[in-house]
Amino acid sequence: MNSKTSNNIATGVIYFLVACVLAILVFLLGYILITGIPHVSWHFLTSAAQSFAAGGGIRDQLFNSMYLLVLTLIISFPIALGSGIYLSEYAPENWVTGVIRTAVEVLSSLPSVVVGLFGFLLFVVNFHMGFSILAGAIALTFFNLPLLTRSIEESLQDVSQLQREAGLSLGLSRWKTITGIVLPAALPGILTGIILSAGRVFGEAAALIYTAGQSAPTVNYGDWNPMDSASFLNFMRPAETLAVHIWKVNTEGVTPDAAAISSGASAVLIVVILLFNLLARMLGRWLYKRMTATK
């Protein structure tokens, strides 16, 4: 076999494999969207879920998912940023750093149901938080932290060493070089990492079933006091998210239109995650342009 034929075969095989991946993706997305979109309506998005009757919506679940996501990011981003900066810029190459890196990797491969049960035992039971958005957000932080730390560390590492030397040689301190030069240069990558991890958090169910709970009590969207138990901002209330709702409707739903609700909610979930991805790309590109000038 000469090199030309082997090249052709290799190219063919690679194209075939890519086609397989694409086909699976298109099939899944197509199936979810085609079966789900017809059930999505303004009414579906803006009305509360029903326990027994048909015609329930996903308003509270959708909001809970968003709120949980925001809380999770508020908790996990600063920690991930700090550890990402440490690992990329300060960590000496020794066994301690090796242990930290391995720990981060192990954390990221923990099954989410294990994280959920751990969160249940520690926060919900031991710390008496009860099923709450806060417990869910902390559990999701465990889940989110490794990914976010990794992506921040990698974005920082991608910034050329020459840039750091340039900053230091201008008489900037190490910290100012990092915050003033390395971080801005890495910002688009960091942002993409945040939004991609947000997509995963948004779709997470297993870690939330035992932490944020499976019920969505009626909340008052006009009550802006997070200390009020009826407020939509209260983070000590149980909060069923969209992904958990899909799981629940499918396993124990008794409404006559459970299948339709599940399909519709799945479509909404997928669309939101796709939007996250698109947004990540656009924002990353826009920010990069902003950062690198060209007015």
Partner: protein
Amino acid sequence: MPKIITSNDVHLSYGSKEALHGISLDFEEHEITALIGPSGCGKSTYLRCLNRMNDLIKGVKITGSMKLEGKDIYAPGVDIVDLRKRVGMVFQQPNPFPFSVYENVAYGLRLAGEKNKHVLDERVETSLKQAAIWDEVKDHLYDNALSFSGGQQQRICVARVLAVQPEVVLLDEPTSALDPISSSKIEDTLMNIRHDYTIIIVTHNMQQASRISDKTAFLLNGDLVEFSKTEKMFIHPDDEKTSDYLNGKFG
């Protein structure tokens, strides 16, 4: 003329390998000194000792004394940030920040706390003029510095260093990645600023050294072979090795 930097018996080793075997060199204020020698002779390594850039490399050990205006720069408690403000550096590869030309030049000042827009504007313009790049960038101050040619980027880097007003400018083979025309522009730039700054330049290019420098130091395998006025060295070198190197017998 007063000596601004003095160094005495500088040894540097990476782990167990010694790269500099006791270099003693003094630099006079407002002169251009060229460091020449074949690849791997230690000239860049020596240069990077002068603003402590070698501190960034692990396992480096430096002994001997290096003084800036009589003060040991390796003494405990020395403010490295302050040292690097006084001893600026231009690198082999042009490395502008991925920001606009204006931001590149203003950045050092801005992060050092200068907020006055007039001061910044003025300093940016002066620095770009000193670096002989102003005419080429004045209508593109807000374009990304990376969108310019390598030679222009390198002059922007020179302007960026000048903007923080150092006393000494170190240049580590600043033209080796550039074409001849850009190189000669960098040389013009250096001639332009020679009376205001002390310049130490590492170069592979012997013609460049002979064109621009007042004094030349020839290093070989981590030793200083000869150090004298450039004219003298190029016409009557004392050491046979210098003569061989200058005549292209090795290197």
